[in-house]
């Protein structure tokens, strides 16, 4: 039986519909937001694999330091946690670069206070940067040489900081965004520049609570933080556990919610299988690569044919396929990260020795080169390595297998870390040595400095004036297109002459319980450690 809807009920229906639509439009987004409103409270529990020599980031280079103390401090500039590699201010609200590139002026935000209540002014920024760039005697500053362009730092008034340079530096802004350049209160630095090796007073969202060496590190919420309503967490706690499988087990059992560095694929698979949706895995490429340094000063490696043969003998594309599930080494690239703004396009890369797709042709060429260089029956070499399984050992196992196919027999010598540094960097006592390059961002100065003559990171001890020239030109090239052109040229020379054997670029698995919200894993474990906007959806 059909009834014709009466006019009054039609009107009501239409009104109801209209009201519904209006309310949805007006309140809908807020309704959705309510489900995602950050919750205040809770302590973030994390596991970490080591603890650092000291708590002063200016003096350390290990993730163990920066991961644990970053939430306690602020920096002048930072990399946008949600938008790598964009640079935004942390303490700086705005900045100007003079047209000649020799003066950088920063405005510091007002009403920032340190954990002890004292206000933060430009004097603190100047004192901290003086410590980084011009460290007093007895104080080490690991990254000092990145600021060789800076002549001095001025603080003309309480809210302005000025950097004066002697030549333009295309990377200065990036370097100033380094997570390691934390700002300390000047009054403690004046008393003792090494004060912060054992104390932590900063202006960050958390303040220092306790530290038991070898065991735990805790920070608690700083109510006077300059960003209103932050941080969301009541605190954070790091547990120190050196064995990777044990850290993975800690995540699985819920004793920890997050591991900030990396967990191997096999562990991640097992965690996902057991916890399903309770766990989120972010796989990110890393600003780091593993390769092999060749000692260019030692026979037969001073012969470019031998070096090139070694590079040709590596099937990097198969290596990526084989090693990715084991170690995270996944991307084939040159000396700057593929996929970043400086990465070499594939088409160009494939033309360089060792990066061509036809591996049989490459191997034949390698054997021919070796014969030409005087080794028709192959070669015996010693490959030194660090005795850490992932990814060092697995990387070496693959290389050994590859070089076997071109008649190069490798004796593998894993060394303890201290001995590895000693042989590689200090004494140069090696033929081939596995050496990685990992930095806190895709920064050409940082990655390419090691190919310049006399650089302390030039483990291969080679010297090529063309490279030195290209490097210093790119360091001053303020136009990104020109800079990239210079960088690619530099890369081509290094790879043609095979001064260094690049391997693969790395990716990491960042594992967290899903209840940890609002954390985007950056492409390395040095940045985005402040935990300012992180919240827990449940305890």
């Amino acid at each position: 039986m059909t009834t014709r809807p009466r006019p009054r009920s039609v009107g009501f229906t239409l009104l109801a519909l209209a009201l519904l639509i209006v309310s949805l439009v007006a309140f809908g987004p807020r309704l959705l937001q309510a489900a995602d409103t950050p919750r205040h409270g809770g302590v973030l529990l994390a596991v970490i694999g080591a603890d650092p020599p000291s708590l002063d980031p200016h003096q350390e280079s290990t993730f163990a330091n920066i991961d644990m103390v970053a939430p306690l401090y602020s920096t002048l500039l930072q990399i946008d946690p949600y938008n790598y590699p964009k640079i935004i201010g942390d303490l700086a609200t705005e900045w100007k670069i003079s047209p000649d590139g020799l003066t950088y002026t920063f405005k510091i935000r007002s009403s920032v206070s340190f954990h002890d209540g004292s206000p933060l002014t430009s004097a603190d920024v100047k004192a901290s940067y003086d410590k980084i760039i011009f460290p007093p005697a007895g104080v080490r500053s690991v990254r000092k040489n990145a600021y060789s362009a800076v002549t001095h730092v001025e603080a003309p008034d309480a809210s302005t900081v000025v950097f004066k340079l002697k030549f333009p530096s295309a990377s200065l802004l990036d370097n100033l965004a380094s997570p390691w350049n934390v700002i300390f209160p000047k009054k403690y630095l004046d008393r003792d520049p090494n004060y912060f090796k054992t104390h932590a007073i900063g202006s960050g969202p958390f303040k220092f609570k306790s530290y038991t060496r070898g065991s735990t590190f805790e920070g608690e919420r700083f109510p006077g933080y300059f960003v209103k309503d932050r941080p969301y967490l009541d605190g954070y706690k790091f547990y120190i556990s050196p064995e990777t499988s044990v850290r993975a087990a800690a995540i699985r059992s819920g004793r920890a919610y997050v591991e900030f560095r990396d967990l191997p694929n096999a562990e991640v698979e097992a965690i996902k299988k057991q916890l399903g949706d309770k766990v989120t895995v972010q796989e990110t490429p890393v600003t780091g690569a593993w390769g092999v340094s060749i000692n260019n000063t030692v026979k037969p490696f001073n012969d470019v044919r031998v070096r090139r043969a070694l590079s040709l003998g590596i099937d990097r594309y198969t290596m990526a396929r084989v090693l990715a599930p084991l170690t995270g080494l996944r991307y084939v690239g040159a000396l700057m990260r593929p996929g970043s703004e400086w990465g070499m396009p594939e088409a160009e890369l494939e033309k360089l020795p060792g990066f061509g797709r036809d591996i049989e042709k490459n191997r034949a060429e390698a054997r021919r080169l070796l014969a030409e260089a005087g080794y028709p029956n192959g070669l015996k070499v010693v490959l030194k390595n660090r005795n850490v399984k992932l990814p060092y050992q697995d990387f070496a196992v693959f290389l050994i297998q590859e070089w076997h196919k071109i008649g190069v027999e490798v004796e593998h010598r894993p060394l303890e870390t201290a001995a590895w540094f000693s042989d590689g960097q200090d004494t140069g006592n090696f033929e081939l040595i596995v050496s990685p390059a990992v930095e806190f961002m895709d920064e050409p100065d940082q990655f390419l400095g090691r190919y310049a003559t006399g650089s302390t990171q030039n483990w291969g001890r080679f010297s090529d004036p063309q490279l030195d020239d290209l490097f210093s030109r790119q360091a001053r090239a303020l136009d990104p297109a020109e800079r990239k052109r210079l960088i690619n040229e530099l890369e081509k020379i290094v790879l043609q002459k095979a001064y260094y054997l690049p391997g693969l670029w790395w990716s990491r698995n960042f594992v967290q319980w899903t209840k940890v919200k609002n954390y985007v894993a950056p492409p390395n474990y040095y940045t985005n450690q402040k935990l300012q906007d992180v919240w827990l959806s449940e305890d």
Partner: protein
């Protein structure tokens, strides 16, 4: 007796000095030093030779080895073990953070092992060549044969996979929170205890067997004493000497030797600390820890020898 004790005490000194000297030299011969590690960081550091030289000078590493050794000895004589090269903190403080946990594990594991080993060892000896004996021997050898680092990992994995439970990751002393302390330590204590029970069971079995062959035991049997009286009242006392010796030396080893156990069960103990210190080339810490461990070892041996000498007069006139 007193001369024996005095003589033995005197002999400790050269042993300790000898160990200290050998470790001293070895550590400095091994390539690499702490400056490279700190400046190098993970692998991202810039190891600037000037900074290296400055640091080495600051830490006193550029002095000659005999000078360094002399300085260290002088400090030890005043009970000052120096400051850690890695952290700059006094070595004593660093050690004291870790010592209570290692001691607790060592004591508990020894208790567990003794409680298991003595009854089972005796049983195996008394029922020699029976299926009881075979079973006990097989189980004890099992405890020794499985590599220690695997047992720990397997325990953790088992707990996590089947119960979704993991032990706590930080140490709470038993007087603060006994339940948390228990949760963290029960698994490593059982794992280590089982292993040492295996060793001690075998020793107990063999010493009891030896003693049971003695003439005075045969006399006891001939007198018609019951088995329990013979075994417990006569054999056990004499069989215990070597067992006590073994337990003592094992205990001394437990203080600094549980590297793998501590790593796997996330225990911030002395064993792991030694490994880390060696890896960091933290000479003062390594010296102090080796000294401490050697001291424990030597003292325990001394106590055992004194016990033997007290019980067996023949030894004193050696």
């Amino acid at each position: 007796m007193r001369t024996y004790v005095a003589k033995r005490l005197l002999l400790i000194l050269p042993t300790l000095l000898g160990v200290a000297a050998v470790v001293f030299v070895i550590m400095r011969v091994i390539p690499g030093d702490v400056t490279l590690l700190i400046l190098g960081g993970d692998q991202t550091g810039r190891i600037d030779p000037q900074q290296v030289a400055a640091m080495r000078h600051q830490l006193g590493l550029d002095r000659s080895i005999p000078v360094q050794f002399g300085a260290w000895l002088w400090g030890v004589a005043r009970l000052d073990f120096g400051t850690s090269l890695w952290t700059g903190q006094p070595v004593i403080d660093e050690v004291m953070v870790r010592l209570p946990l290692s001691l607790e594990v060592a004591v508990l594991a020894t208790i567990v092992s003794v409680l298991l080993a003595i009854p089972f060892g005796m049983l195996a000896a008394v029922r020699r060549d029976s299926w009881v004996d075979y079973l006990i021997r097989l189980v004890s050898i099992g405890g020794l044969a499985i590599p220690s680092f695997w047992v720990g990992i397997l325990v953790i994995l088992f707990l996590v996979i089947y119960f979704g439970w993991g032990p706590p990751l930080e140490f709470t002393p038993p007087w603060v929170d006994p339940w948390a302390n228990f949760q963290q330590l029960v698994w490593p204590v059982l794992t280590v205890g089982y292993r040492y029970a295996a060793v001690t069971t075998r020793m107990t079995r063999s010493t009891v067997l030896e003693v049971l062959r003695e003439d005075y035991i045969r006399t006891a049997w001939a007198k018609g004493l019951r088995e329990r009286a013979v075994v417990i009242h006569h054999a056990l006392k004499n069989a215990m000497l070597p067992v006590i010796a073994l337990v003592g030396t094992e205990f001394a080893f437990l203080i600094g030797g549980l590297v793998v156990t501590e790593t796997v069960f996330t225990l911030n103990g002395v064993g792991r600390f030694v490994v880390d210190a060696v890896a960091h080339r933290d000479y003062p810490v390594v010296q102090a820890l080796v000294f401490l461990i050697a001291f424990c070892f030597v003292m325990v041996n001394l106590l055992i020898d004194l016990t033997y000498a007290w019980l067996d007069p023949r030894i004193r006139y050696h």
